[in-house]
Symmetry: C2
Subunit: 413 residues, 2 copies
């Protein structure tokens, strides 16, 4: 029986671990007795539509160091997209073309590595494939720094972002403690709807550092007056107050906390300052204390030089698992992790049907947030701690990390 | 002859290398046949004034791992201050008390680790000491991420900040290239008056990455129209344009480029958005392209987990050198580095009289900036490259870097 091929793509927002999952898929295919070539579709699903494909097996054969180098490279080696397929009942032209491509390339399985929106694509492709009686496996591999995908204990990319946030908080604390004057530092962390990443800031606390002293997650309505009272109370007891706040905090009516629309620049545009800046102005105005805000933004999702080994190992293993499942005939599913225990940390790899996952989101449980809504509880710390363990072996050359050459994305440049 | 003691303090803004210089001083004193104890003054010169001193020799004796751990700890282990001594002719009370403290603690030499303002303190203490005929040595040890101290080829703290900037630019590039749509990314980097650190962003360029595609330093007047033309021209040729810009860029009249004072928030305060945000709004308004800004701010000066080994080794050596010089009787000086060659990279340690240094600043030479004022030239790259070489051995525990316990600073908390 002749060998079949596989295809893989990445989509959505980048993380420090998504290339580890890609490497896991490539590794799984290269070791498989059932499969021959693994093709990569550039810029997510659109690569299949534009016939922008790359022979990843041939690439990996050029140098055995590439697989590890790919594992530690930040963002998406295959590029990404934010393309949502239409409902095939409305317009099936994309679907017809995609499955024609699958046939032309002798594809047995298609792996899509991404977050919530990407799982929607997996769902749609699976349903269409089922409708036309196609045997082709469609499998999703999770990815997101937000940690909000359902059916899996946590998601690849989250552990590394959490490690980066916690390390940065510790370093910001050292930076803050040096002056013997009262000050407030507000650190704005990514996470519009789920507070998992902001909660990870608490991992910075140790025997000598108690910061962040306050933590505000989007799961709890934010009250400006309560916030000011929290800060004022702490300023009585100590000089430096450090606050970790999610970019997605909202008031009781559900409105995002950010600079009011009354603030307009010379171009006539409302200045959306972000939560950090808004709270900085608030503290300055109401408390009159020295205050600064730090917006960590893009660096928290692409700082591969500080990736979590646990995260990358799991991301790679999920890629392997996806290939193994497709060999067994599993389809319309996403590979998952289930936690057996916190200490010792132990997980199992499995899978769940995609219809339970696509377009669903998982928030931080309210019972893991303090009653006052300004800190987290021990069970959440116990959940988070294992995910940031271990450091990754990154090669440096001329003082900089060595990552995969992504000039193939530059042909769109 | 009985052994004398030394005292050391740190001041000004933090870097990832200032504790390496402190460790070098401690190491120099511990190995010296002339000196017994090294005392640290907490929060710069104010520690001497408030009798807030720490026996660093006793601390280091507790654990031989402490010296290396101190070397890699970010910010100031002894805390900092921004205290400027008055002219002693106007008011000599501080000076009298400081020299009394020196006498009480049997101090032979005082080392002050800091930037420009700190060298002003070294100058003043030296002049006062000379006036009263004191034999006590006053020696400055340089420190700043801005790299703007005169008489020294470069300054401790700069190399690590440069390594962080270059690594971050490379990672931001990977993050940017993933979408096949036109976009502009503006990265705002520290440096109000000197463009050394912003220039270091160019080190991110390699065989596949040409970003940052545009670099704007404060040494050259910034023109918004020219900037827009630069960006527009590049957008014809490629999808993603990444710009590195110093926070201190000014227009031809010398006004800082930032959100106009017309922008006012609900509290009635002008919103100082910073250069990155200002240029983001400008590009959005005038070019209508997808654009984002990234402000690296505090992380570039305290990210010790990505420090440059060259930087820390030199910072430590300068601490050693300061002790050696004081043994020889040198005073009223700052230890310096002189570059013998770029390739192979070779420097010599020396010293220069403090009167040539205090309150002076060193900018990027105009001949090292491109004629168009939007990039840097090869000699500047050759100057910068050696400074970011080598990685530091940081110990990790529970997924986080292990730094020195700074709870002694928290007694001010």
């Amino acid at each position: 029986m002749s060998l079949k091929n596989c295809m893989v793509a990445q989509s959505g927002g980048p993380t420090a671990a998504i290339n580890a999952s890609l490497a896991g898929v490539i590794d799984g295919v290269m070791k498989s007795e059932k499969y021959d070539t693994i093709y990569g579709s550039l810029n997510g699903i659109t690569g299949i539509l534009n016939n922008d494909l790359m022979n990843l097996s041939a690439l990996m054969e050029k140098d055995e160091a590439y697989l590890h180098r790919l594992t530690v490279t930040p963002a998406m080696f295959l590029g990404s997209c934010r393309h949502k397929l239409p409902n095939y009942l409305d317009d099936d032209s994309s679907y017809v073309y995609i499955f024609k491509q699958f046939a032309d390339y002798d594809i047995d399985a298609f792996f899509y590595i991404g977050g919530n929106d990407s799982m929607d694509t997996v769902l749609k492709l699976s349903e269409y494939g089922k409708r036309i009686g196609s045997p082709i496996r469609i499998i999703g591999i999770p990815k997101t720094i937000d940690n909000d995908l359902c059916e899996t204990d946590h998601t690849p990319g989250f552990g590394s972002a959490a490690k980066y946030i916690a390390s940065s908080l510790l370093e910001i604390s050292h930076d803050t403690f040096i002056y013997a004057v009262k000050s407030v530092t507000i650190v704005e962390i990514m996470g519009r709807d789920a507070g998992w990443l902001t909660a990870a800031a608490a991992l910075a606390r140790n025997e000598y550092n108690k910061a962040p002293h306050l933590i505000y997650l989007p799961e709890v309505p934010f009250d400006k007056e309560d916030f000011l009272l929290d800060v004022k109370r702490l300023l009585f007891e100590q000089n430096n107050v450090i606050v970790a706040v999610s970019e997605g905090i909202r008031d009781a009516s559900g409105n995002y906390i950010s600079a009011s629309e009354q603030s307009v620049d010379t171009f006539g545009h409302s200045q959306l300052s972000g939560v950090g800046k808004t709270l900085e102005f608030l503290v300055k105005e109401k408390l009159g204390v020295k205050v600064r805000s730090v917006e960590i933004n893009v660096l928290q999702r692409c700082a591969s030089h500080l990736a979590s080994k646990t995260d990358l190992d799991e991301a790679f293993a999920l890629g392997n698992k996806a290939v193994a499942l497709s060999e067994e005939g599993v389809t319309a599913s996403m590979v998952t992790m289930n936690r057996v225990s916190d200490n010792p940390y132990c997980i199992e790899y499995g899978y769940a049907e995609i219809k339970h996952i696509a377009n669903e989101a998982k928030s931080v449980p309210l019972e893991w947030i303090s009653d006052a809504g300004n800190d987290i509880k021990q069970p959440l710390l116990d959940y988070l701690a294992p995910l940031i363990q271990g450091e990754v072996d990154v090669t440096y050359q001329n003082g900089l990390p060595v990552y995969m050459n992504v000039s193939h994305l530059a042909k769109h440049q």
